[in-house]
Symmetry: none
Subunit: 218 residues, 2 copies
Amino acid sequence: MLRKHTYADELRQGLRRGRGMGARAQPTPSWAREPLFEKAVTPSDVGKLNRLVVPKQHAEKHFPLKRTPERTTTTGNGVLLNFEDGEGKVWRFRYSYWNSSQSYVLTKGWSRFVREKGLAAGDSIIFSCSAYGQEKQLFIDCKKNTTVNSGKSASPLPVVETAKGEQVRVVRLFGVDIAGVKRGRAATAEQGPPELLKRQCVPLPHGQRSPALGAFVL
Amino acid sequence: MLRKHTYADELRQGLRRGRGMGARAQPTPSWAREPLFEKAVTPSDVGKLNRLVVPKQHAEKHFPLKRTPERTTTTGNGVLLNFEDGEGKVWRFRYSYWNSSQSYVLTKGWSRFVREKGLAAGDSIIFSCSAYGQEKQLFIDCKKNTTVNSGKSASPLPVVETAKGEQVRVVRLFGVDIAGVKRGRAATAEQGPPELLKRQCVPLPHGQRSPALGAFVL
DNA sequence: CTGGTCACCTGTGCT
DNA sequence: AAGCACAGGTGACCA
């Protein structure tokens, strides 16, 4: 019902980039970005939980949250963060803190990102922000896992929207599309490989910096 | 940090009984209690579901829940109930109604109870309350199942905390402690015996009474 | 109704 | 060894 954030922000965001979704402005070059941290996503991060756990240390360092000390409302302390991907597309995620599990999470909007990027357990996401400039911008990028068990039975395939809005899964072998499977309901089976992925999170070099937040919020 | 339920409640509860966890006050004698009902726990009750289904009839008779018809908050209709066990230890459970399953359940805190009591499928739990007194107190007690398949392979043993906070499993034969096994990780195997336990719930005699709730909440 | 979102919860492994 | 971070869950709610 009372959606707090309407298209006002969308417009503000879109206009700053010159164009909306259609014609893409040139993506921000990597040399203009400052890496923050990287995380290898877990099965839960890309599964039906529809959330990404942001490692606490990096969350508190780079994405500090107003810790409303006195319980103003029970609605929580969530904010909306905008991230730009490698193609210049902007993703908005809800970012909040879960008291019960004492962890920071990206929730709303995350599942769409997972689906459209074809993100699978073991892949990595890399957070960065603009190195220079007054209005700091956040970035998110994917790095597909290239180690052995990439060809597991139920490994999620990238999902691409066709012109008609159809969603198909894409299988490429040496760059050639192999299968174009129509997408039904989300796969119920989870728990991919037995997992030999333990150390998922890596702090990146290129200058440790203080909170990257501020202008990004909302 | 900002734990909503701090030690305030704990203290309030503890002080009323004269002593906290350490030196135990004398347990409330059974003659001062009024039995409410008994349930033989199911595999689900002691399994990884982390909840106890309270038979609806007894739930509604003894533990009525304010059915907040108008959604005041999104926090739901749960309350926190304090139960005292045979040793005078107080257990706090979250008690709520699940619309999805149309059932009353004890959730938060229940798994700890199961673990520390070594509760197994087929065992019974007995609910009672103080027969006299202004501030009514709730009680919960276990009755181990003594029928045949008690010696199943992975039957959980009672877990007791030693003075140092160590946790050991207790095996008694004719009241004599047989084994004092240090407790490692929780056993992963679940779903105990194939179950021939159907009629699990028994209303107890000693005077059927109306709602036992009121002063217990929180 | 169904899927997405949200705020909870817990066991486990790592530190 | 004890605490904590978090992976993997839950039900409720809502659009």
